[in-house]
Amino acid sequence: MSEQTPLLSVENLTVEFKTDKGTVRAINGVNFKVMPGETVAIVGESGCGKSVSSLSIMGLVPSPPGKIVDGSIIFKGRELVGLNEKEYRKVRGNEISMIFQEPMTALNPVLRISTQMVDVIRLHNDVSKKQARARAIEMLDTVGIPSPKQRIDQYPHELSGGMRQRVMIAMALSCGPDLLLADEPTTALDVTIQAQVMDEMVRLQKELNMAVILVTHDLGVVAESCQRVVVMYCGQIIEEGPVEAIFANPKHPYTKGLLESIPVVRDKKVPRLPTIKGVVPDLLHLPNGCRFADRCDKVHSRCHEVVPELSGCEIHRVACFSPNGDVQ
């Protein structure tokens, strides 16, 4: 797989936000690649920088206060950092699309679905309104919306949460993007609806052979739909590898802790859930050395002094001095 050219390669990406209390580094030196047709998950807890990573790729980091201070984002051999707004618009929605967490706020409440979808299609394709509408209906049908011909003339509030998210997906896919960024696409949905929407996404991803970056905190969703996982903590990637390896053999203590603390339905009730002690450090007052050191069981003096680099074999990399508990 390494001989193939990656569709997207993010190198040493660093994004800062100016706040009243000082400058915060939301993501710090993030590196990852996405191959064509691959599904990559970015997981982590709130504030770990997973959403900022995906917004940076879309060129949507609000500036000011945010700023990409270092690094590059190369998409299909083209540098995206520094593109002006006009050029970026040609990429957005056309070659890279995005689905957001809250479908109600991502759709315009005062416009019909048809207006919103036709606009997107006509912006990127030279087609008539009629053709665009036909294309929109076809897309709604593809994502599993019943009676799309009637639904297309409704307003977002007339649809349920699951339907709205399907409309978002239909809109995002209407120009046949090569890369889809899905930022917590099912977090606001019920489990039964989540299962439907995820199934739909996996099916479409295969059919259209597009790459997907799934940003989520739900490791269950990741296990069922992704090939590769990037785990983030406090703005850094701390582990990256194929989904099977991450779940069967997590190397970073944080990944391990995260996997253990999921309240899954177990065969037997356990008296206490395993937890990760402590809380995520404040990005304004980050500790020296490893950012997870204060919460880690396997911490030793070196962890407090030096920041561990992401290392290991090509496919499964981890940023820890003692992966699997043994001190290196």
């Binding site: 807890e45 709130s46 349920s160 949460g161 699951g162 339907m163 019920d190 489990v191 039964t192 609806i193 989540q194 299962a195 439907q196 995820m198 199934d199 905190h217 739900d218 490791l219 269950g220 969703v221 990741v222 296990a223 069922e224 989904v243 099977e244 779940f247 069967a248 802790g257 995260l258 996997l259 603390s261 999921i262 309240p263 899954v264 339905v265 177990r266 037997k268 009730k269 356990v270 008296p271 206490r272 859930l273 395993p274 937890t275 990760i276 809380v279 995520v280």
Partner: protein, 324 residues
Amino acid sequence: MSEVLLEVNGLKKHFSAGSRFFGTPATCKAVDDVSFTIERGKTLGLVGESGCGKSTLGRCVLRLHEPTSGEVKLEGVNISQLRGRDLKAMRRDIQIIFQDPYASLNPRMTIHEILREPLDTHKIGTEDEREAKIAEVMAIVGLRPQVLNRYPHEFSGGQRQRIGIARALVLEPKFIVADEPVSALDVSVQAQVLNLIADLQEKKGISFLFIAHDLGVVQHICDEVGVMYLGRIVEKAPAEVLYRNPKHPYTQALLSAIPIPDPTASKESMKLQGDVPSPLAPPSGCTFRTRCPHAMSRCKEERPVAHNTGEQGGEHLVACHLFD
């Protein structure tokens, strides 16, 4: 310890929705004929998708909503009839933990004021006793006493939820309604808060009505689990029975829809089609029949009544024609 603390009988809460100019306004039967009991020191979990009425039920128990009919008895006293002073006294015994730790704390009050207010309202103890009580609950939920003079915005979601729990505990209630207390939190914090609630059950013997949409969360906390669909409890059983042997097709679907964090797990899942129907116009007969893979003609005509299908005298209520 088999003393019944809370008893709910035939509880109904109907909202009238969208008053029409002509004709009768539509009614939304948010909670429709729900009965259950909770023993002292035990926890009942209520699960279901959004809009199934689980939060409304929790609020009716507290009388934050006035029930349309039915009765709620706490230690044998029908609290749906209480007025004035008696009502206020009852409120001391029942507390609530809300879902959103951001919206449920007054941003203009310090933590000390938030915890002090219930004690002042109910005129409990002397000045010193009140302060001692505040210090005690802070220690229970694992917050340092130095933070008492801070405001809610200075805390993280997990810490705010601990403050919410501390506020519920300060009056030493007998019963707490926990309305999705962990769904707004990150997984690692979720586990911490769930363990805290488990400790409270154990040490203080408080009964909980634990409302959640996540069956995984409920398993760790509850002795008994009720599954709600469109305002009714469709299945209710002791937790270990329900998870081992779910009977109602809806419960089975809910369980199989949970994504399993194991990429090698085989997925023989049972996918539900479509959305929850509008509660304004629920389907006739069994309300689940529109999404049920086992729907028969009888389901359309006759509403299934919950009955006990438990083995060896155990309770396992199922409202489904498959088990008649």
